[in-house]
């Protein structure tokens, strides 16, 4: 069954540490996205990609990097994690019609 999976599902990191969130999709979609969801801000787009090897900045890219090594995989990298990056992170994949399908989310706590 086509799906978007994320790992880890929960992560506790220390301030200044490096965190990598991984996403895998079996939808064969060209486009992949990283969002964060916070109370009071809703869902905000961090980075997106329209194919292997491409990464583009979304609305709130500062403090985040992204990597798309293949059609199936899209990673979000926090080189120097800060407490303000404590959030729930969602990955999504989408085709050319604008529809997006979301993964289960990763709850990240930065202490």
């Amino acid at each position: 069954e086509a799906a978007v999976t994320q790992s880890p599902r929960n992560k506790v990191a220390v301030t200044g540490g490096k965190v990598t969130l991984s996403c895998n999709q079996t939808n064969n979609h060209n486009n992949m996205y990283w969002y964060r969801q916070d109370t009071g801000h809703g869902l905000r787009l961090i980075h997106y990609s329209y194919g292997a090897g491409s990464t583009e900045k979304g609305d709130i890219p500062d403090g985040y990097k992204a990597s798309r090594p293949s059609q199936e995989n899209f990673s979000l990298i926090l080189e120097l994690a800060t407490p303000s990056q404590t959030s729930v992170y969602f990955c999504a994949s989408g085709g050319g019609c604008g529809e997006q399908y979301f993964g289960p989310g990763t709850r990240l706590t930065v202490l």
Binding site: Y50, F90, C97, G98, E99
Partner: protein, 112 residues
């Protein structure tokens, strides 16, 4: 201003009643998608409906593109329908990708 507005912000129903959720948007959208999110859960795509009427199970969505509005009708509500319903429009980016603009959601509570 807010590009996607949803109403009502919250709705309380008795099991078996019908729900009508509204979504108004201010930009031309190539796609409109309704999502369900349970507390602490992920976003589940319910319907993609950029225009016209679509049905799936107890859900019916009607989108009138030129009036920039969409509705989601839930018939015979169940307690398991409780959660937040999000409306999102897609604005196309380069390379064929899309940026989703979300409304703030309607929180539905169905009691038995």
């Amino acid at each position: 201003g807010q590009q996607v507005q949803q109403s009502p912000s919250s709705l309380v129903l008795q099991e078996g009643e019908n729900a009508e959720l509204q979504c108004n948007f201010s930009s031309t959208a190539t796609q409109l998608q309704w999502f369900y999110q349970s507390p602490g859960g992920s976003l589940v795509s319910l319907l993609s409906n950029p225009s016209g009427t679509k049905h799936t199970g107890r859900l019916t969505s009607t989108t009138v593109t030129k009036e920039r509005r969409s509705s989601l009708h839930i018939s015979s509500s169940q307690t398991t329908d409780s959660g937040t319903y999000l409306c999102a429009i897609a604005l196309m980016n380069q390379g064929g990708s899309a940026k989703l603009i979300f409304g703030e959601g309607t929180k539905l509570t169905v009691s038995s």
